[in-house]
Amino acid sequence: MFNYTIRRILLAIPTLLGITFVTFMIINLAPGDPAQFQTQNIMDQEMSIRIYEELREYYGLDKPIHVRYVKWLGKLIMFDFGIALSSDRRPVWDKVKERIWATMSLAILSIGISLSLSIPIGIYSAARQNKLFDTASSTILYALYSVPSYVMAMPLILLIGVQWDLLPFQGMTSDNYAELTLGGKAIDLIRHYTLITFCFSFGSWAYYSRFIRQNMLEVLRQDYVRTARAKGLSEVRVIIRHAFRNTLIPVMTLFGMLLPAILGGSVILEYMFNWPGMGRLFFDCMISRDYHTLMALTFISACLVLMGTLLSDLSYAIVDPRIKYD
């Protein structure tokens, strides 16, 4: 098990190198560069060309692409993501750091809400397979799943946010946040999180609950469930204690798959709700060709993807003693 983990981590290194290399090549070979983006609004042509050349030299864009990649890698080993190639020229890590809280809190909150809703629904649907509750819940949840998040967000913003003025929908806090008491701050945060958290999570309810249901159905056919019933245990006890506990293995793998989502964010919702998240940062950097920030974000998400797959593979072995890795 220990050896297996070490081997997997070692195997992840070439994969990470591959991901960063491919991304580096694609974004650098695509037309346009940060120097061009920052000089495109300068009217005076001579001036524009001069600044463009200077910026290219300043950013090191005049060097060949493989030299730049090796240099970027060298810095990465020292955990240095470099300086953002945007007009503010702040360290990339600072720019990413200030977005992490908003993105992570939102993602963890939505995942928590999704799971606490989907697990009971999934269990109950499996226990009463193809009965009214199963059909109704899957219809409603699939219907929600079929609505793009921006279509859902728009009426919510217009009705709840504007027309009825019930909840705020811009940013994380109100303007007077600093003056509020502790309780007031908490209420203000909750009010700001409500709409975006709903829009962020409703699409995944169907997926999770069907996932739980599928696995429950598999477990419910096992002999030990029949034995439990034959012993005369109550149905609730059979379902919860004997069946559900055995579906925890696939649920563990679900957590592994969710790991990258924690820092992924959502461009569209972050724009609509003016949320200072990672999705927006990524999209803006893509437009302005901020290579360093893009590479940092890609690196972080690639690490999370690889860690997620490793964790879900390992969790199999931890939860189920029948599975062995060597």
Partner: protein
């Protein structure tokens, strides 16, 4: 034998004859009993038929503008416009019907790519194992780790101009629209086969360890025969299920890209871009609800049907969930 894309088609073409008729109809019988899936199949059929039958008209009418009618609510009596008009005074009925063709086309293209590349990739990796498997699955890992919106945008920036000039050379000028659609098909399809490859590889690995495969090998059957007669028929279930589930995912992905302005370019509509246009047109003072409602309704109902069908197929093919 090496399974390539070319002879995989050949192999799958031979398949129906290989599986006995009894085996083949069992999942279908089970699927037919699933009432919600059958209802979904019928509704989806109606939507597809409507889009296809109206294609000769909608292909001409979808960019027909009448500026006097801009933002006009739904009407039937004066003009046939039950879905109303958009900002530029274009009849949303024809735009929705034509957009359906494009949206469904994207979904089918993605499913087709997933079906061909994903199945072949997973089959080879799982069958040969060892180093081949390691290398092939690392490629999948790398593609999985790449930020997908970035991939699509950059594919577009990098290859669209080249494709336009190539198409212009072959078919004459004015091929921008075709190039845009092809790039999007390839970009969405290019990321959709990864899940399929992983699923098929897992299936092949577990099938390879089953006694019947060992028996087939022990009787000295050639690899080609083992693959065609014994392995592929057992993969039909997951392949069909995941191909079906790829369609709604691709359609939804295109709608997100449309909202970001990097989907299929105007004036060619898709359900996603129509809904996105509608969302941007709606404001607090006047609600042009029909601009959002009808495209979203069609998009939503189609995705709902496809998911129900996929779900029904999974139940039908998976002997473990039989009740």
């Amino acid at each position: 034998m090496v399974v390539t894309q070319d002879n995989l088609k050949e192999i799958t073409a031979e398949m129906p004859g290989m599986v006995s008729s009894g085996q083949r109809s069992r999942p279908w019988k089970r699927f037919r009993k699933n009432r919600s899936s059958m209802a979904a199949l019928i509704i989806l059929g109606i939507i597809i038929l409507a889009c296809l039958i109206s294609l000769p008209i909608s292909a001409k009418q979808f960019q027909q503008q009448d500026l006097d009618l801009n933002r006009h609510p739904p009407q039937i009596i004066d003009n046939l416009a039950p879905f109303g008009y958009d900002i530029l005074g274009r009849n949303l009925l024809w735009r929705c019907l034509f957009g359906g063709i494009v949206s469904l086309g994207i979904g089918l293209a993605a499913a087709g790519i997933a079906l061909m590349i994903g199945t072949a990739w997973g089959l080879i990796a799982g069958w040969y194992g060892g180093r081949v498997d390691n290398l092939m699955m690392r490629v999948v890992d790398i593609l999985y780790g790449l930020p997908y919106v970035l991939l699509i945008i950059l594919l577009k920036i990098a290859f669209e101009p080249k494709l336009i000039s190539l198409l212009n050379k072959i078919f004459g000028t004015g091929q921008e629209r075709a190039a845009n659609i092809i790039i999007l098909f390839v970009a969405i399809g290019g990321v959709s086969w990864l899940t399929m490859a992983r699923v098929i590889r897992g299936q092949v690995l577990s099938l390879k360890a089953r006694p019947f495969m060992e028996a087939a090998r022990a009787t000295g059957l050639p690899t080609r025969r083992i693959l065609i007669r014994h392995l592929l028929p057992n993969l039909v279930g997951p392949v069909i299920v995941y191909a079906t589930l790829t369609v709604p995912q691709a359609i939804l992905q295109e709608s997100f890209l449309s909202f970001l302005g990097i989907g299929i370019q105007a004036p060619v509509p898709t359900w996603g871009s129509l809904a996105a246009e509608g969302v941007k047109a709606v404001n607090t003072v006047v609600s042009f609800w029909w601009m959002v409602f009808f495209p979203s309704l069609l998009l939503g109902v189609t995705l709902l049907c496809l998911n129900f069908i996929g779900d029904g197929l999974r139940d039908a093919f998976d002997p473990k969930t039989r009740h």
